[in-house]
């Protein structure tokens, strides 16, 4: 195992969590969402990989979508977290805190 592969696995495995965290306060359209995520976390995969995840989150009813047609430029598809999504996010956050807490304790031992 090399560090790049491990980093990539962690980033890919937590992308759904990161998307829901980013959406919890405001709605974003796809491109804007990626930019927002990239401004806080380094993502090596192509930008397109976010769309299958957004589709899956919509299928699971964790997000809803709406199209907005600005007067100039292309229409934008906005994503908004649902109550179901917020419930899942709370569970994920609790799990993340518990798991990362355990790892931190192992590191400090």
């Amino acid at each position: 195992m090399n560090i790049e592969k491990w980093q990539s696995q962690i980033r890919k495995g937590t992308l759904e969590f990161i998307i829901l965290l980013t959406l919890r306060k405001e709605e974003f359209y796809g491109y804007e969402l990626i930019k927002k995520i990239k401004s806080t976390i380094e993502i090596e995969t192509s930008e397109g990989t976010i769309y299958p995840i957004l589709t899956r989150l919509k299928t699971l009813a964790y997000v809803t979508t709406r199209w907005d047609n600005p007067e100039s430029g292309m229409p934008r598809k906005y994503y908004k977290i649902t109550n179901e999504g917020n419930k899942m996010l709370s569970l994920m956050t609790a799990e993340w805190k518990s798991y990362s807490g355990s790892i931190n304790r192992l590191i400090e031992d």
């Binding site: 937590t14 992308l15 796809g30 930008e47 299958p52 995840i53 299928t59 964790y62 598809k77």
Partner: protein, 204 residues
């Protein structure tokens, strides 16, 4: 929004159109509404990325945006397979599930094996259904046959001589029932695999 409306360089138009031909090709198995929705979202993304990269050279800015977005075959294929299988299992549509399984074949060894197993199962569903109709036209050749030497055939045999046929025309409802039961079981299993995958992904 047509590309001719916003690109000045014909090479940019070619790059854009070529990219969206590939997108359309990947989305061709989806219903029109879903495919149009996904294509419009990718167009919106690529255009905004292009606008941000643009500093006077259209082609460079567009190629840069395309590179960042990625190959449509890479990020759309698995997505299309999941949409087809999910909607197929929800609506009990064997056509949608079959399409999804066929797309799934190209997305990795594990998916290839899973698709093959489910596909074989659905072939049995079809075979049971067909056998019940064949019985009407070839009543002597379709049934539950046993021979004194221990041989047994459930289905079609071209040589039923010296056999005992146990079910008669009851083979028709039996085959239809088996077909329906297997179909429901397989479809639920596909849904279970899919939801397990979703659960695993959302649990990170």
């Amino acid at each position: 929004m047509e590309t001719a409306n916003f690109f000045k360089d014909p090479n940019s138009v070619k790059i854009w159109d070529s990219y969206f031909r590939r997108v359309s090709n990947e989305l061709r198995l989806l219903d029109k509404e879903t495919a149009d929705d996904m294509s419009a979202e990718i167009k919106s993304h690529l255009w905004q990325s292009f606008e941000e990269s643009y500093q006077g050279d259209e082609v460079s800015a567009l190629l840069n945006a395309v590179e960042k977005l990625g190959e449509p075959e890479d990020f759309l294929r698995k997505n299309v397979a999941e949409i087809l299988i999910e909607s197929g299992t929800r609506r009990f549509s064997i056509i949608s599930i079959t399409k999804g399984l066929l797309v799934n074949i190209g997305t990795g060894l594990k998916n290839l094996i899973l698709s093959f197993l489910f596909f074989t199962g659905y072939l049995f569903v079809l075979a049971f259904g067909i056998l019940s109709f064949v019985k009407i036209f070839y009543p002597q050749n379709v049934g539950f046959f046993t021979w004194d030497d221990g041989r047994l055939v459930v289905g079609y045999t071209s040589n039923p001589e010296f056999s005992n046929e146990l079910l008669g025309y009851w083979i028709i409802p039996v085959m239809l029932l088996l077909s329906v039961i297997l179909y429901v079981l397989l479809t639920r299993l596909v849904r279970l695999v899919l939801s397990g995958r979703n659960k695993k992904l959302t649990e990170g």
